[in-house]
Symmetry: C2
Subunit: 358 residues, 2 copies
């Protein structure tokens, strides 16, 4: 596809634990509603889904944060629920209510009725966006592709939308585990195919968002969330060797050792985890990504600097204490940036990372 050569390799270097000059930084949901230019483009598109499906506009919003901030990675602009939508569940968004599906999946028949799809056919708008963004970046920074984890996607498909307690998904787990496993198997295959298609289209790294793995018990996390992700990582290693994968289970800080067994290139961690302790645990077995509470960006700017510096100190002191080289951290928030953030506050976070001498 004749992509231009990559100029900034800091993000990929940190992921591979190679030497870096400073800590790479990006923000989950960096193309989002906290940016006025994003809101304008979204209004042009009509709505969120229309924006995802419009290659030019999806490309435009992916580039917006890079024009404002000195970031070291870009990420595909899309939604994790494109997969269940392509499987036939009818995704829509109600204002202020989050995502919804017109159909839910609650028994084996409904699992079996899910449509199979080839990403480049059913979700061509995703792979088109990947290619367009990669070209538009002109090699300035690498492009991350992504997917939701099978368990996370399954919760939306079973509940029919967002949930606080995952009542229906857990009822299925404890009443008809064979139905849940069948659904997770289908999703594991589909997610792997989806991510491989993104790499084929130009993605240079991948992230799996396991947003709801943290709602499970230790044992159920391993069975129903980690193991399906493990299958995907195995397939990715076979099909796209050399493309690093970040695995992020929000609320999964108690289970980092278990997560390592899936051999991700990096583990995403949220703000409940002490970064230095996480480094102590993973050593040089993988990189780490995180982990400032996004709500810190709603506060005082001196405190943003302080909290960011403390986070970096915590990580690099961990490196020193273990005699490890000072690399392997991708500075990020512990979850997506919120819509109420002043972009200038996000800038303080990014500049603090940029200026921090490792």
């Amino acid at each position: 596809m004749n992509f231009p050569a990559l100029k900034n390799t800091r993000f990929l270097d940190a992921l591979a634990l190679r030497p870096i000059d400073r800590t790479p930084v990006w923000m989950m949901r960096q193309a989002g509603r906290y940016l006025p230019e994003y809101k304008a483009t979204r209004a042009d598109a009509g709505d969120f889904l229309a924006l995802c499906k419009n290659t030019d506009l999806a490309c435009e919003v992916a580039l917006q944060p890079l024009r404002r901030f000195e970031l070291d990675a870009s990420i595909l602009f899309s939604d994790i629920l494109t997969i269940p939508d392509a499987m036939g569940l009818g995704l829509y968004f109600e204002t202020g209510e989050g995502p919804k599906f017109t159909r839910t999946v609650r028994n084996m028949q409904q699992v079996e009725a899910l449509e199979s799809f080839k990403t480049t056919d059913a979700l061509g708008y995703v792979t088109d966006a990947v290619t367009a963004i990669r070209h538009a970046l002109g090699g300035s920074v690498p492009l991350i592709g992504f997917s939701g984890s099978p368990w996370t996607l399954a919760t939306y498909m079973i509940e029919g939308g967002s949930s606080r307690d995952f009542r229906h998904a857990k009822t299925m787990m404890y009443q008809q585990p064979e139905v849940l496993n069948a659904l997770l198997d289908r999703l594991s295959d589909q997610v792997a195919e989806y991510l491989i298609a993104q790499v084929d289209a130009g993605a240079q790294a991948l992230q799996i968002f396991d947003s709801w793995g943290g709602a499970l018990s230790h044992a159920d996390y391993v069975t129903f969330s980690l193991n399906p992700m493990r299958k995907i990582l195995d397939k990715l290693r076979a099909s796209c060797p050399g493309t690093p994968v970040i695995m992020f289970t929000k609320g999964g800080g108690l289970w980092l050792e278990e997560q390592l067994s899936a051999q991700p290139d990096a583990l995403g961690i949220d703000w409940t985890v002490k970064l230095g302790q996480a480094k102590q645990l993973v050593g040089s077995r993988c990189a780490l990504q995180g982990n400032l509470d996004p709500m810190i960006l709603l506060g005082d700017r001196d405190n943003i600097k302080l909290a960011t510096t403390r986070m970096l100190d915590d990580y690099y002191q961990g490196c020193s204490e273990q005699g490890l080289s000072k690399t392997g951290l991708i500075a990020n928030l512990g979850h997506g940036i919120t819509q109420w953030t002043n972009p200038d506050n996000a800038k303080v976070f990014i500049e603090t990372v940029n200026q921090y001498a490792i």
Copy 2:
């Protein structure tokens, strides 16, 4: 007050790590909507708050689960938000929306305007309920009093109700920490006075529910949630020595070591924590309470038995491995029982604990 002598000391024995014949068991929110008899009494009272304020009916619902199940403790029937209500915020419940306040607390003036109260005056219905339940129990099992933690109460007072992201509370934390600290100081004093009044009225053990401590970073948890609880525990040790205190931070499984520094008699843990690992960590420094996912009770009964047995095995194997005596566990759920639970499923959980040979 001439309370009858306690016949079943299993719960208090486990809390003190004294020998026990079998594992004591109770369920958070055991007097609740999953019981048809509770719904009937609540309908008689009119609404939830009226039920809390009616001594006879509050006593009746506290006793209902003990008539159905072989439980080893009872708990005061009340709500954690009685304190902010007594401070003048105007608590009300909207159907399907959870608790709301007519006024919020978002600046120093509003903190200073909060009313001070003496529990036996402003919340006499709570202490009356404690005394009535204690008498009605006739010494069959001990009675637990409770309160929300200062941080947890503060979130409701700042947000004006429930929240998913604690946007306003965290904005205060990161913009005006002095306001948050002033609010937490007021709440720490008030919670301590409230719990001491419950002990004076007949409570034989106490639990502090820190429902939202797990939303914080490690450092902020210590500053804004754990330290206020520490102050309360210090006061309780001085004023009611011998009354054991259970401290439960939902989502706080990463910080058990820090929690121990507040010297609780027991730590409550949720289902994300491996009970055996927690026992490994706390050793004989305190008891543990938990930790079955309440959603397991929505599932298959054989699986309820299996999961409960595994939980108990995990704990007692931890005791054996460390050469510790087999005590110190209060079997419970990792959070309140949900309204969708079939009472017969709860019975399977309780009977499995009752029949488990330690």
